[in-house]
Subunit: 345 residues, 2 copies
DNA sequence: CTGAAAGCGCTAACAA
DNA sequence: TTGTTAGCGCTTTCAG
C-alpha cells in the first residue's frame, strides 16, 4: 500500500510530479529519464492510487450504481454482465442497489447521494412497481443517471434496444410459418418498451394485411406466474391463437406451462416465440424460438453513456441497432396444425 | 450536501462535537440541550457523512466486493440478493466483481485492494475454473474474505449450506418412491460442496442397504450444457438409472433435455430431483422436484460474517441448518414405472 | 464538557 | 522543467 509520497521519495521527485505523470497530464514536461524512473518505482512499489483520497479531492468517486430488480432474470443478468465489463474497463466500480429499496425507503437513496457513494446510476424501469416514484426520487437528488433498456425522450439519457423491430421479427416469423391468429403476451404497464413490443406485433400483422384485435393481447408481465396468467386469458379466447409472441422470456416460460396445463402441445397446437435469448430459452421444453438482442452490449453502452454524461456530454438517446436482432428458430414454433384452422371471423 | 462544518456552525458547536454525537461516541457528555440542537440541525440540513472522507480518515471504506460468476444462475442470484439486503442494512455498498477477472487479470484484483476499493470480499468457488488461482491471489492480498456456499476448514471464514443433508433428502425421496438405480449427476471438481452432495447421495443409498456404484455418478457441472453431457453418460450406462439426483439446478435442466432427447419421459422413465428451488425449477417441464435451501439467508449470513471479521472476530465456519432443507415435490419425480425393473445386477 | 488542530492521500494552482 | 502548498471532509488526540 505504497502512497504517492513514498513513490516520490524513492524517485527523488515531488508527489505532484508523480501524480501528473501517472495521470497523463499533457502539460507535464519531464526528462524522459525522470519519467522512466518514476514509472519504474511506481511499478516496483506496486503503487495504486487510493480511491478515497482521489474521491475526496476530485469530483468523482469512481463508482456507478446499478438499480436492480429481477436480478434473478437471466435477461437482466446479461445486461448486468455487460455493464460490469464496461465499468471495469473504465476503472469504475459497479455497485448493486436493490431498486425496491429506492422506491420504498427514501433514506436508501439518500445514503447514496449526499454520501457520494456513486457518481451515477443505471436505471431500469419495468412498469410493474413504483417506477415513477423511483424516477422522481432520483431526479430529485440530481444524481446523473441513464435509463437502460427503454427508449426515452430528450431531456433524459438512455440506451435502448430496437424493441419494435425485434417484436416485428418475432411476429413475422410466425406469419411466415402460416399463422393467422397470432396473439401478443404483452409486458403491460406504461413503459415505452412494453408499448414498442406491442407496436412491433401490430406492425407485422398490418403489414400482412391482418387485423390486430385487442382480444389477442393479454398482459403477461415479466415473470413466469404473470405469463401463465396472461396465457390463460388468451386460451379462453373465443378464437384461440395458434401463435403467441411473448414480450418477455420469463413470461414465455409461464405461457408454456399454461399451454401444457390446458392439455395442449407446443408447437403442435400453439407456437410460442419470445424476446431475448438465454439458456432459459434454449433449455425450455420445448426449446423456445427467440429473437436474440445484444443484451450485454446494452449494458456496456449504458455504462459508457453514463460515463460520457459525467464528462459533460449532453443528453443522448441511443438505439442499439447493431448487432442486429437475430431470430433463433427452435422447436417452439412450427406451422399451424392445419390450414383449415383459418377460421371465419 | 451539507458538511459537518456547516452543521457545527449552525448548531454553534465544533465539528468534532458533531462527529462524536452522530457516531454515538460513548465518552461524549454534552448537555441534552446541545445534543438535541445538533441532531435537529443535522436532520434539517439532511446531513450525510461523506463516504470518501470517512474512508480516507478511518480504516474502512464501507464497501464489500462480491465475486460473481454465473450471475445468470437463479441460484447465485438468490444468494446475491440476500447479500445485498444484509449489506444495505449494515450501510455497506455491495460491489460486483466478475470473478474470472480476478483469475485471469491479476491487475484486476490489484485495483481493488491497494486502492482500498472494498473492505472485504465474498468468494464463491465453483471448482470449474481456476478457483485455486483466485484463492491464492486473494490470500496474497491479505484482503479479508468469506467463502460462501461451501464448507471450509479452520483458518478460513465461511458460511455453507447443509449440502450433505440436502442431497440425502433428495436421494431419500427417490428411494421412498421405490427407486433402486439412483444416479448422481455430480457437480464435479474438488469443491467441498461437490463432495458433500455426492456424500449425501451415497449416505442415503447406504442407509437403504443399496450400493453406490461409481458408474452411477457422472459429472454434470453447473450449466445446462454440462448437465446435458453428464446425463448422456448416465443414459449410456448398462444399467440405466430410473432416478437422478442432480447436484445443481442448471445441470438438472440440461438433464431434462438429454432425457427428452433420448426419447424418454420424465418421470415415467426417469425421475429427476435437484438442489435449490427457483422459478427455473418450478417452470421447468416437467416442473422439477427440488430441495429448497435458504439461499438468501446464506448471502445474508455471509455478509454478516464478513463484517464481523472486519470487526476482528476470529475465523468461524458456519453451517446454515435453519430454516431446514425442504423437499418440494413436483412432477419430475414418481415411482419407477414397474417394480420388475429391479434388475439383477 | 467542548474546541482546536492535525492529518489521512491525493490533485491543482501557484512558485521557482 | 519540477517543487511547494493548500485543502477536500472527516475523526481523534490533546488542550482547555
Amino acid at each position: 500500500m505504497a502512497t504517492i509520497k513514498e513513490v516520490a521519495a524513492r524517485a527523488g521527485v515531488a508527489p505532484s510530479t508523480v501524480s501528473r505523470l501517472l495521470n497523463g497530464d499533457p502539460t507535464v514536461r519531464v526528462r524522459p529519464e525522470t519519467r522512466l524512473r518514476v514509472l519504474s518505482v511506481a511499478a516496483e512499489l506496486n503503487y495504486t492510487p487510493n480511491r478515497a483520497a482521489r474521491a475526496l479531492r476530485g469530483t468523482r468517486v469512481g463508482a456507478l450504481g446499478v438499480a436492480l430488480r429481477h436480478l434473478t432474470s437471466p435477461v437482466y443478468a446479461q445486461i448486468f454482465s455487460g455493464a460490469e465489463d464496461a465499468a471495469r474497463s473504465a476503472d469504475f466500480l459497479l455497485v448493486a442497489i436493490e431498486v425496491d429499496a429506492l422506491a420504498t425507503d427514501p433514506a436508501a437513496l439518500h445514503r447514496f447521494v449526499p454520501g457520494r457513494a456513486v457518481d451515477g446510476l443505471l436505471l431500469q424501469r419495468d412498469g410493474l412497481l413504483a417506477d415513477d416514484v423511483v424516477l422522481e426520487n432520483v431526479l430529485a437528488t440530481k444524481l446523473p443517471f441513464v435509463i437502460v433498456n427503454e427508449r426515452v425522450e430528450d431531456p433524459l439519457y438512455g440506451v435502448a434496444l430496437d424493441d419494435v423491430r425485434a417484436s416485428r421479427m418475432a411476429t413475422a416469423h410466425l406469419l411466415a410459418l402460416g399463422h393467422v391468429d397470432v396473439a401478443h403476451l404483452a409486458i403491460g404497464g406504461t413503459t415505452r418498451r412494453a408499448l414498442d413490443r406491442q407496436e412491433g406485433w401490430q406492425q407485422a400483422l398490418s403489414h400482412a394485411g391482418l387485423p390486430a384485435p385487442p382480444e389477442m393481447v393479454a398482459v403477461g408481465g415479466g415473470r413466469p406466474e404473470t405469463g401463465y396468467a396472461g396465457m390463460m386469458e388468451l386460451l379462453a379466447n373465443p378464437v384461440r391463437p395458434t401463435g403467441v409472441v411473448a414480450g418477455t422470456l420469463l413470461a414465455a416460460l409461464g405461457a408454456l406451462a399454461a399451454i401444457r396445463g390446458a392439455g395442449l402441445q407446443v408447437p403442435d397446437d400453439i407456437s410460442v416465440v419470445t424476446h431475448h435469448d438465454s439458456w432459459a430459452a434454449e433449455y425450455a421444453s420445448p426449446p423456445l424460438t427467440a429473437v436474440r438482442l445484444p443484451l450485454e452490449e446494452l449494458g456496456r453502452r449504458a455504462v459508457q453513456l453514463l460515463i460520457e454524461r459525467l464528462d459533460g456530454a449532453p443528453p443522448r438517446q441511443e438505439l442499439l441497432t447493431t448487432p442486429e436482432p437475430q431470430l433463433i428458430p427452435r422447436a417452439s414454433t412450427a406451422p399451424p396444425r392445419s390450414a383449415d384452422r383459418r377460421r371465419p371471423r
